[in-house]
Symmetry: C2
Subunit: 379 residues, 2 copies
């Protein structure tokens, strides 16, 4: 056992029978772990929000990827302080995060909500720490790189551990990461003019408690009982609903506007037109997205499929004969984003449109993995 063991609510999250995903670069086929703990040359790391769904996944990913660290601090709110956890055969006590927590810390991985990031992020930076922040607090702040390592690593090229110079780097929203992992290689080839995104989002995006509520509600509904609605205002089991983020004046909710704005920032392309509708579906931890693309230059579907097959972090699952395409279950706990249903959009003339269907693990590539990949680029 090398992963963290706080009692995990994600019993369902790893159930994955009938998994037919081609293995590639995934945790399941990783090399035997080389222990990097206490490596003199590794950075000093802090995990902020370590008891949450993403916090726990930070630790798994650090372990899976043998991310080197000299020391690691487990930080959380006072509510979780004092809890014990085991990580890579070593016992840790969860500490309450304070200003001093960041003294001497090189890299802090934050996933404790936007409020905590806004308050503690700048304090950590002040102390020379590089903060990789999974919240939306700084994503659109000018000067803060918003990075998907496979897409725009250049945006953070000037930030390195060792300079002892604090900095903020923002992890994009999960829906944006999963979408752009698939769309960017096509965009580079044919330039996306307009993108219509419809999401099928998992419970995990609303945190571990939401996953627990989905499971609890499902048990209740199957038993003929009224469902417990604490996290969401309505029944989630055997149902779906418009994403619970607040709706703005233009009728788009904040989740949808993240897709619009973050895409422009990550691509450094203000002219790309995006519309999105974000829907929560009763799935545990992986998002699906249906993406309709209009291009400036022609791109036929065979070329698109080839481009995607060669893209880093992407696996193409597109078997029309056996009706095998990406599903959330197949990508759960996997690193790669899966793409399928790649086809010419018959509603447009010529090869100027494509429809694709994308699935990615929300906690992993949508959050923790992307953040740790950012941290790797800091070394």
């Amino acid at each position: 056992m090398q992963t963290a063991v706080i009692s995990s609510p994600f019993r369902l999250s790893t159930i994955s029978t009938h998994s037919r995903i081609p293995s590639r670069n995934n945790a399941s086929i990783r090399l035997p772990p080389i222990r990097m703990a206490h490596t003199e040359t590794g950075p000093s790391v802090a995990v902020v929000g370590v008891t949450g769904a993403v916090g726990q996944e930070f630790l798994k990913v650090i372990s899976d990827r043998n991310f080197p660290y000299r020391s690691i601090k487990m930080l959380a709110s006072s509510r979780s302080a004092g809890k014990q956890l085991t990580f890579e055969d070593k016992e840790y006590v969860v500490e309450e995060m304070k200003d001093e927590s960041f003294d001497g810390v090189d890299i802090a991985l934050f996933s404790a909500g936007g409020g905590i990031s806004k308050k503690m992020g700048p304090i950590a930076v002040e102390k020379g720490c590089i903060v990789v922040d999974n919240s939306s607090a700084f994503r659109m702040t000018e000067g803060v790189p918003l990075v998907i390592p496979e897409v725009n690593p250049e945006a953070m090229a000037h930030i390195k551990v060792g300079k002892r110079q604090g900095a903020l780097i923002a992890n994009p929203n999960c829906s944006t990461i999963i979408c752009l992992m698939a769309v960017t290689p096509l965009h580079r080839h044919a330039k996306v003019k307009r993108m219509v995104v419809s999401t099928y989002q998992a419970a995990s995006g609303a945190g571990a408690a939401a996953m627990e509520e989905l499971e609890l509600q499902t048990r209740e509904v199957l038993a003929g009982k009224p469902p417990t609605c604490n996290i969401f205002s309505q029944q989630y089991a055997f149902n779906l609903f418009s994403h619970n983020a607040p709706v703005g004046e233009n009728g788009y909710n904040e989740e949808e506007m993240k897709l619009v704005k973050e895409t422009r920032k990550i691509w450094n392309c203000q002219e790309v037109q995006v519309t999105a509708t974000c829907i929560r579906v009763p799935v545990m931890r992986a998002h699906a997205e249906n993406v309709n693309l209009q291009f400036e230059n022609p791109l036929d579907e065979d070329t698109a499929r080839q481009i995607l097959k060669e893209a880093a972090g992407i696996v193409v699952i597109d078997d029309r004969a056996s009706n095998h395409f990406p599903t959330p279950l197949e990508v759960s706990s996997k690193d790669d984003v899966a793409v399928g249903r790649i086809r010419r959009d018959i509603s447009l003339n010529g090869n100027y449109g494509l429809d694709i269907f994308v699935c990615g693990d929300q906690i992993r590539k949508g959050a923790a993995l992307n953040a740790v990949q950012i941290a790797e680029k800091l070394l």
Copy 2:
């Protein structure tokens, strides 16, 4: 009790706590039933596939709407023949469908699969029966009206009971009906040029056995057991997947092509451009659809909302402040199609685009209700 009582597998289908849908024209507020059975003036009716999910709903709708009938025959395959059922306080025995079954029948409501429709539909027509067919067998056949009564009743205006002249009328596919119920009023106002549809389809579209399998799988997964996969080739519980219809050469599956082709036929508009991606989600009996619309003429969102509020068979649920929009659960077993998330598409200039989110009961308006409404127009 006035509805049919064959043992029903749809325990979940009617669970609808937190229902906030405005009541209008719905079964729940119907007038006390007036018994029309044995009415001399009513037509003689046959229900084909009476033991299936849609067959059972045919009976419910006939009862709910007080559809007049002189007699009613309960027809099914030899497998179901001999079963007893109670309908409007009268006992019936399910009969095996044979050629002679249609002797003297005025209206036959078919929902027993395309194969049965292809074989028995023409035989019934030959005997002077008007067949309202819920399968895809004749939908695209020239001369066969494809009808949503609120949309294109004129297509069947020449067909009436009393002439004793047989005819076929096709019920559109569930996804098409639900989509066009919402989109047609907008199309009439501003003419739809292009439509991008992403569906979130319920188990019921694959029949009663699929609904049972979703429930069974969910129980199994919650108990840590492998899921039973008889109807679908993969886990459906806590998962979603591309619609199981066969995929054609252009990469679209048959369900998607129905949306493309049926829209053109129903609107009598060959130039409308449609692309669709059809996805099954773990929901029992109501479909959701995200529809992105591009118009030839401008249509602002307030006008669109007003048009939809005034449209027959539509209920607008579009409360941005309280994040209350249509859900499959709220429309389950309801007649009206719900529309919300009505907003200007910010990816297009001016008022030439709208995004809307639509939910409708797949068994009711998506199948049985629409067919009975067609039958009403025959009288």
